[in-house]
Point group: C2
Chain length 161, copies 2
């Protein structure tokens, strides 16, 4: 049932089996640049895989994350999204600008190189000082868009969300 796949090699000699759902989910993520949520993946695959269960999506995303084939990002608002890992660690270097009024998220790439240098230096220093194995980082800026910056002293109203 499962067709040959280049990533299947990662499973050989291990416990896991190469299955249709895993093929479908990894295939989808490898073909998009978006960071997708579990439900987005689930509904994207419904047409071609109507038998796929949401539980399997979660389990597969967890497996692929542990295999370092995909990358999980947790936004400041708690959203979890996944993306295919193209290669080097530095490729998935997304940072976010988030409006705390309406939760809109903007990707930015300003000062990407400078950030990378500083991140690397910081990681090395933290590893030495705390004896940590650094696996990931998260950099976000929070602010208010012009539509939201007038109402910060009120309990968050519905209208501006």
């Amino acid at each position: 049932m499962p067709r040959p796949h280049k990533w299947q090699l990662r499973f050989q000699g291990h416990v896991s089996r190469w299955t249709g759902p895993r093929e479908a989910i990894l295939g989808l993520l490898s073909k998009t640049s978006k960071h997708m949520s579990a439900k987005e993946i689930y509904s994207s695959l419904y047409k071609k895989h109507p038998n796929l269960g949401l539980t399997t999506v979660y389990r597969t995303l967890d497996l692929l994350t542990r295999m370092s084939l995909i990358h999980k990002i947790t936004l400041g608002n708690g959203q979890r999204r996944f993306e295919f890992k193209k290669g080097e660690k530095t490729d998935h270097h997304h940072h976010h600008l988030i409006c705390t009024g309406c939760d809109k998220i903007f990707d930015y790439k300003e000062f990407e190189e400078e950030e990378l240098i500083l991140i690397k230096k910081t990681e090395e220093s933290l590893t030495r000082k705390f004896n940590f194995k650094i696996m990931d980082h998260n950099i976000e800026f929070y602010g208010l868009c012009d539509k939201c910056n007038l109402n910060i002293y009120k309990n968050k109203p519905k209208e501006i969300r």
Copy 2:
């Protein structure tokens, strides 16, 4: 009922009112260096404020965050915790190093000046590009502390928490 408070000044001339729950929650966070969750705050205040509702804790934390009086951090596992903001100055400026094995949070000050310069440049650029009013930023590194790093080959991270 509400007693005078230095932070009350932040409310004067605005819509919001200075209330007992807000006094209690901000007061608690100002007296601890811990990063607390909503439920931890709720149960910490239960003794002296048995009438306080969990809903109000969430609403107040949201308000105080938007007022930049406290800081919200979202861990990689989705946990949300809050800490008091000591001041606008760089005195107590720090970022977080989070162990994904045991959820422990370490504050660090490595490369503080270099980070601040880059952060300021990035903020200015983002403000110009997106017309945002930058209020805050969040820089976190995720990894495994030395104790948890020894257990990476165990199946269930829950057991070592």
